[in-house]
């Protein structure tokens, strides 16, 4: 206890945040992995994992232990350093993005003035990790997966940002906290339904979720960019994917669904996080629901949809919003 007292409060805050964030990333990965498999089962009229633990709840723990125990194989002609580095490149932005997410009015690591730009920029870094992973594997499937992933990411970043900018026009701020506070009267989803839908679709594409999971299309590319990765390094990519889903949904909740606001609870400064998490997991459920409903699109369909539908509509939406705000 004395040691804790001598530490500067800012450092203590950083250490605590790091521990909580890492713990949360792993718990979220386990929970979403379980939900994904259980819901996949239920959507197909089967029970999903049932054998490990009650209702198969410990299945993901068993899988994690198996993955940790596996050998990490490095292909002979790959670039060893970058091959080892790639999973961490995918994983680091995941931890960093948490800094600006406002879980509730007092549960936010740091409220940056440029919070929204920060989180979008850091999340786009994930694409670099994907490209590195695919490039250094020295495997044609991995390289194709990476190339597809980057092409898709670049295309869908545009409608995504255009739809987010409409909200920025309404709030006159990039701070995530200000976004939530500006929705105390009406949630932005009711003022900007089109922007919300476009953001959500682009978010699906950004996180390589079905029906936009072309970088991982197993029928043509085995597993895409992480084909050559095994053991714990594979699970880093897996965790990064699930945490990115969480971020896409938490940005949607912060910007469109009123963040932590909800029916008041005791200690609302902190317990607002319950409402925040609830909204995020509802959106994540919709993501899983979409995955188990729609088949994968073809690559030309994917890009056509982005350039012919999402981008023009998002642009038009932005123009109209700008006009209305100006008037």
């Amino acid at each position: 206890m004395e040691t804790v007292g001598t530490l500067p409060p800012q450092l203590l805050r950083m250490i605590l945040s790091a521990v909580v964030v890492i713990a949360f990333v792993f718990m979220n990965g386990l929970l979403l992995g379980y939900l994904e498999r259980k819901l996949a089962g239920r959507f197909q009229l089967r029970p999903g994992p049932m054998e490990v633990g009650p209702q198969g709840m410990l299945q993901m723990v068993a899988d994690a232990v198996k993955l940790i125990g596996k050998q990490f194989i490095i292909p002979r002609q790959s670039s060893t350093t970058l091959f080892r580095l790639a999973p961490f490149l995918a994983f680091v932005p995941v931890g960093v993005s948490f800094i600006v997410i406002p879980l509730s009015s007092k549960l936010q690591v740091l409220d940056l003035d440029m919070g929204l730009i920060f989180i979008i920029a850091v999340m786009a870094f994930n694409m670099v990790a994907t490209l590195v992973a695919g490039w250094v594997s020295n495997n044609k499937y991995a390289l194709f997966g990476a190339v597809r992933s980057v092409a898709q990411g670049v295309a869908y970043e545009i409608p995504m940002l255009l739809s987010l900018v409409t909200v920025v026009l309404l709030t006159h701020s990039f701070s995530m906290r200000a976004m939530v506070l500006s929705q105390s009267h009406i949630w932005h989803v009711f003022m900007q339904p089109v922007a919300f839908v476009i953001y959500f679709i682009a978010g699906l594409a950004e996180t390589h979720r079905a029906p936009f999971d072309l970088p991982e299309a197993e029928s043509e590319l085995t597993a895409g960019f992480h084909t050559e990765f095994s053991g714990i390094c594979f699970s880093f990519f897996f965790l990064a994917e699930y945490t990115n889903m969480f971020f896409v949904c938490s940005i949607a909740v912060t910007l469109f669904l009123g963040g932590w606001s909800g029916p008041p609870l005791p200690w609302m400064e902190y317990s607002g996080a319950i409402w925040f998490m609830l909204k995020v997991y509802v959106l994540l459920f919709i993501m899983i629901w979409i995955r188990w409903t729609f088949p994968r699109v073809r690559f030309d369909q994917l890009l056509n949809f982005c350039w012919k539908y999402l981008t023009p509509i998002a642009l038009l939406n932005l123009l109209i919003t700008a006009l209305v705000v100006k008037l």
């Binding site: 959507f43 009229l45 089967r46 029970p47 629901w289 409903t293 012919k308």
Partner: protein
């Protein structure tokens, strides 16, 4: 331009219909039978290996050792053994060997039996560690119940 919006409308509508279909599936109870814990009732038409039928009047089998099943078996997997005993008419069955590793479940033995002494069992959980486990003595099985 008109086609553009028609496609957008039709596409969006069909996606929502698709989501509706899967959501109904989500609410529908799972159809899985958890096999070792739950079992389906077996249809009476199920054909397992053959059994000697217990006659309700005499309390024993009806086999008269006519050897028809033994002779007609296309897989040669039936060996009927009988002996002549004092005081009884005809032969008495002493052993009925069925080599189930060779049996093709054709059912000819059941068809040719003049006294309907044979029938199919409803056993389907057949797994063993050696082939000898599938050399059945049907007479012994009948006596042991």
């Amino acid at each position: 331009m008109k086609e553009y919006f028609t496609q957008l409308y039709i596409g969006a509508k069909s996606l929502l219909v698709g989501l509706g279909v899967t959501f109904r599936a989500l609410l529908h109870p799972a159809v899985t039978v958890h096999y070792p814990r739950e079992k389906l009732t077996i249809s009476p038409n199920f054909h397992g290996h053959t059994l000697l039928v217990k006659d309700s009047e005499t309390g024993t089998h009806r086999c008269i050792v006519c050897m028809q099943c033994d002779l007609n078996c296309p897989s040669n997997c039936i060996t009927v053994v009988g002996e002549k005993r004092e005081g009884s008419k005809g032969k008495t069955l002493t052993a009925y060997h069925l080599d189930f590793t060779k049996c093709s479940l054709c059912g000819i033995c059941v068809e040719v039996c003049p006294t309907q002494a044979l029938d199919f069992s409803d056993e389907y959980e057949l797994a063993g560690f050696s082939r000898e486990e599938f050399h059945y003595n049907l007479l012994k099985r009948l006596e042991e119940g």
